[in-house]
Symmetry: D2
Subunit: 182 residues, 4 copies
């Protein structure tokens, strides 16, 4: 039984799962790009796309993507029993578990990741708004996915800032100005 | 379509869902009791049971209980598609979403709630150990529920401490020494 | 020795501390107002001001306000020894403790509180921008306070939404649609 | 003005700061060792010591150590003005900022780091108990440091588990079973 996947497999499976729900890597990269462009000129879009891919290769985030896609699909097929089916299907505002999972994705990139997620979750740019709107239609559920996608964008955005900081701090030997130095 | 439930309904539905998976309110109260007994003599077991019921009446926690029970049941029936089915069914140690959801339950009672959850999650007393052991058997999945149950115990334990603090601080008029004064 | 303060005392001391650093309750209420106005028409400014006061009466937040004001003052007087003095005084971007404390304030109002804080922390409206700009001047430090103020605004904003939800859900007897029902 | 320190400098400064308050690296390694020994036989103490050093080399944790040591020292010298001086000096149970900062250290190692911190914070092994007891004496304050030290132990403990997982999963090419794969 296969439980552990290699980095390449995790990226492939995550990208596939997102595609199956109408989300492309570039949709996510675009949100990251626009968020970082507030702070830095001349960010390459490629840098943002690379960061999305890097983020999708983390095991925690791979797990979140697969789970969110499954939960939305199962809600579309009305597979939950009891009160939770309608609560998820209707994306009840007072149901916060989807945001908790999004915040967990963003948390992997520290407090900055979490505040970036807050910005995206409140203002709903690009693909996040699209998923949110689509999810209001009969038969379509994106209750969990719009938060995961927004969080991946926030994580990628934060990672781009870290990469830029590293380039700026090259005077320190063997130093990466990253919150996750190992 | 009913999305919002009254406090009494939420308690009733949560208790039913827990019972359907072999968990009684007193199992949870017992963990809370043992945790608080480290700090205070003469805690009444009834105080702990009342705190569990109060905790189960919070909408966030009601949502978590229903969701966790559904996720475990659906994994038992192999209803997830793709890699996430085995990952959940086998309670992969590197799959952390269950603990994230437990931590979210505990978070409602502040940082103390979260550290109390950590204590229970690491040391696995009573019903938490039982669920964890049962979940290793073929056909039984408690991947999500053992964390939610441990977290409810932590929340109830924290609430008992708050109630005791209130009784001690009666010299302050109209004052409740609670993190959630409103 | 006085360690526990009544609700009225906590509000008074917190408001005084904020005033001593140039922050008025209405400055904070304005941010909450603007954030909620994105979702709801006809919010009363008074409702927002009341929510700020309610938020300031919580012990956790009272502690955060007093601590943040002291830390900034002590940094202005260069009272920290060693590397941390300059790190705080210059509001180093890679120093994240101030945001951690802000997130803790917002956390008291759940995941929604945290995402609202993210929005304010990234976009820096009103008094938050003002504190951030002032803090760049020689001799002035607002490293900790701008995050606490932004978080109080986020908390108040979230509370306003809860109050509005309650009014909408009056059909449920004795029910408050609040994440912190007790 | 020096704001950014190299990894070696950060370790040196953090170890010095801890020593100045009576805490040795081995005191922290011992807690990590005992926590992991519950799960795995034959853990080397050296592995635990190395993990403590690795943890101390992260910028976020370096900042936390320096800040905690300064805050306790300043409280010992009664440098805070107003109510917060006594609240910190007496380590008021209802003052939770110290635990929030500890949880932030542990958070860098994911949800497992946070639950490990909960275990240490509740059960207070070794040097954590010692700091907690010393802090009760007149003229000594360890309000912030005991939580930071416990959190570093939790982080190191979690890192040891990650290192062990990596050795077990060597069949996956170029794969590190780490929550923080980059």
């Amino acid at each position: 039984m296969k439980l552990l996947y290699s980095r390449d497999e995790m990226v492939r499976l995550a990208v596939e799962a997102l595609k199956s729900r109408g989300v492309e890597v570039d949709d996510i990269a675009e949100i990251a790009y626009n968020q970082q462009a507030k702070y830095t000129k001349n960010i390459g879009f490629d840098t943002c796309r690379d960061s999305v891919i890097k983020v999708l290769s983390l095991r925690d985030i791979f797990h979140h993507v697969l789970l969110a896609v499954q939960l939305d699909k199962m809600a579309e097929k009305k597979m939950f029993e009891g009160p939770i089916q309608d609560i998820i299907e209707q994306d009840l505002g007072l149901f916060g578990v989807d945001e908790v999972l999004g915040l967990d994705v963003a948390r992997l990139y520290g407090v900055i990741g979490m505040t970036n997620f807050g910005d995206i979750d409140v203002n709903k740019p690009g693909i996040v708004k699209h998923l949110n709107d689509e999810g209001k239609k009969e038969g379509i559920v994106h209750t969990f996915l719009d938060d995961i996608v927004g969080a991946i964008a926030a994580a990628a955005s934060t990672r781009v800032a870290q990469v830029i900081n590293e380039e700026l701090a090259q005077q320190l030997p063997h130093e990466k100005i990253s919150l996750f130095d190992e």
